[in-house]
C-alpha cells in the first residue's frame, strides 16, 4: 500500500515521475500534476490549449509534456481535485502557482506564509499574480514568488497573514 493513502500527502519521492528537471523550468513556467490515482476525470486534458497533458483513457493518470506546456494555468483553474500547479525558476527566485478557494483572498503584492503539503509553514513569499475566474465555476489561481528556489517542490499552499 502507498504511504500517502495513510498520510494524505505526497512526498517528492512519490512525485519523482511527475516533476520536471530544473533545467526545463528556468524562466519557463510549466504545469505539474499531483494526481496519482486512477480516477475517471480529464478536464486538465480537455482544457489544455497546447495538448500538453496526456492520458490514455479517462481513468489514466495525467502526464505533462513540459517542453510544449506554455504555463497558461487553465488546468489549475479547472482541475476538480485542485491537483494542478505551475512552477518556474524566475531568475533565481522560486515561483509556484496554485488554486486557492478560501477567503480572504490575498492581494497582489501581499506577503503570505508558504505552506507545504502538510500545511506546515516553510517560509514567506509575495503574491505576484492572481487570476479570478467566475468563482461559482472555477478556482482562483494565485502565484507566489519567493527567494529560496530550493523549496519550489514543497510549496503547495499559502496562508494569508492576519
Amino acid at each position: 500500500m502507498n504511504n500517502y493513502l495513510k498520510s494524505g500527502y505526497l512526498s517528492t519521492v512519490d512525485l519523482s515521475d511527475f516533476l520536471p528537471d530544473l533545467s526545463l523550468i528556468k524562466d519557463h513556467q510549466v504545469a505539474v500534476t499531483e494526481c496519482v490515482q486512477e480516477i475517471p476525470c480529464n478536464p486538465c486534458v480537455t482544457s489544455c490549449p497546447t495538448r500538453s497533458i496526456f492520458m490514455k483513457d479517462i481513468n489514466d493518470i495525467p502526464h505533462v509534456d513540459f517542453e510544449t506546456c506554455i504555463g497558461c494555468g487553465k488546468c489549475v483553474a479547472v482541475c476538480p481535485g485542485l491537483a494542478m500547479f505551475m512552477i518556474r525558476i524566475n531568475g533565481t527566485q522560486g515561483e509556484v502557482t496554485l488554486p486557492y478557494e478560501l477567503i480572504p483572498l490575498p492581494k497582489k503584492g501581499e506577503e503570505v506564509n508558504l505552506l507545504n503539503r502538510k500545511g506546515e509553514i516553510i517560509g514567506r513569499g509575495v503574491v505576484t499574480k492572481i487570476f479570478l475566474p467566475e468563482r461559482e465555476i472555477h478556482s482562483a489561481v494565485v502565484t507566489v514568488t519567493f527567494k529560496d528556489a530550493k523549496i519550489l517542490n514543497e510549496v503547495r499552499n499559502i496562508e494569508v497573514i492576519k
Binding site: M1, Q37, E38, N59, P80, A83, L105, R117, R135
Partner: protein, 468 residues
Amino acid sequence: MREIQAHPILNFKKGKEVSFFFNGSKIIAYDGENIAMALYRLGIDVFSESPKLHRPRGMFCAIGKCSSCMMRVNGIPNVRTCVLPVKENMIVETQSYYGKLPDKVENFKKSIEISKDVAIVGAGPAGATASITLKEYGINPIIIEQNSLLGGQLVKQTHKFFGSEREKAGIRGIKIAEELIQQIEEMNIDALVNSTAFGFYPEENILGVFRDNQFIKISAKYYLIATGASEKMIPFPGNDLPGVFGAGAAQTIMNVFGIKPGNKILMIGAGNVGLIVSYQLLQAGVEVKAVVEAMDEIGGYFVHASKLRRFGVPILTKTTIKEAVGYPRVEKAITVNLDDSFNEIPGTEKEWDVDTICLSTGLIPSVNLLAQAGCDLKYSPHLGGYVPIRNKYLMTTKENIYVAGDVDGIEEASIAMLEGRIAALSILEKMGFNTQNKITDILNELKSLRNGPFSKKVVQGIKEVEYE
C-alpha cells in the same frame, strides 16, 4: 447567530422577513428558509425528545430523510421541519413521545387525482435529467420533490465535478443544478415541490403524495423512482445528541442555507463525502479538528485528502469515534484507535474539544417506495444496501417501474445524470420512440467512467443485481 458572513464560492441571498411561533415565542425567519434551519440559525438545537428516555433530539440528515427533526406544525405532528419552508404565523411546537394528534381536522384539503404518462419521484440529478430527456421527446412527466428546491443534493455541492466534459467536469455542482433547474423551468415541466411521495399502491398502480395538507393520487403509466439515498448512522453512545450530523446535513446547512453547522468539528469517515465536506467546512470558516477513519487507508479520492492536509487538517486512519459527550448538544468527542481486527485499543482514547460531529460513514439507497411497489430487492454491500434488481435499461422487476441514481446503488452525481437519461430513454423506447442508439451510446459512456479501480466494487455489485 450562526450565519455565515462571507463565503469564497457562494452568495447567500436573504428573503424577506417572515415571523412564526416556536413554543409560543415569536421567531424571525427569512422567506425560503425551512423551519429547522431558521431555528438552528438562531442557536436552537433541540426539536423533540426521545419517546422513552426523553433525550434531546435535533436535526440529523437535513434533507427530509430521517425523523430526527420532526415537530408539530400548525397542530400536525411528525412534520419533517428540515424540508418545510416557514410561513407567516406558523405555529411550531417541539414534539415529545410519538407526537400529539391534531386538535381539529378542518385544515385538510380534499384529495385530488393526477394522471400522467410518466411520474418521476425525486428531482435530483437523475430525476431532473430524466424529466428533461422525456420532455425533449414531447412527453410531459410530473416530478414529485420533497424539498422546495429542485436539483437534489447538487444544490449544495460547491466542489467541481470529476468526469469528462460531457458530464460537465470541472464545473461546480451548484452550477450544474442551476442549469438543470433553468431547463426544467424553461421547458415548463410539471414539478410538485414540498411534496412527499409516501406510498406506492401496486394493486391500483397509484403513487400517494402528500402536499400542503392534501392527499394527491398520482396515476402514471410509467414511474421513475429516483429517490436517492440517506446517510448511515453508526452506533456509539451519544450518537443521538443534537450536534451529531450526517456530513451531508452539514453541507446542506452551510451551503444551501448559509448557516454554520458548528464552530469546531470532528469528521468521522475519510470517504469522498467526509473529505469533500471537511474542505467545504473550512471554506465556511469552520475549524475542522480532524478527519478520523476506521480503515487503514483513506477511502475517498486522494486529491480530496491532499486539499485538506495542505491546510493542516489531520487525517487519522485506524481511528473511530467512541463517544459523543454533552447536554443538550455535543460538547466533546472521544475517539479511539483500532487494531487490525477493528478492535478498540484500550488506553488510546483521545478527547476532542468540538461542538459538532459529522458522520460520513456511507449512504443507504432510499428504496422504500420500490419495496412497497413490490419490486424485487437484493442486498449488495458494494452498492450500499438493498437495491432494486433491474436490467441494464434500469427497469426493475415491475415492467412499468424504473430506477436511476443512488437509489439503485451508491455512486455519484455524474453517473446519476447518465442513469436518468438511460431510464428516460428506455421508457421512451417502450412508448414507441426509437432511442436504442442513444441508449447504447450512454451505456458505453457509463462503462468507460466505471472502468477505473475506484469503480471495481460498484461494477461487481451491479453484476450481482442485474438481470438480462
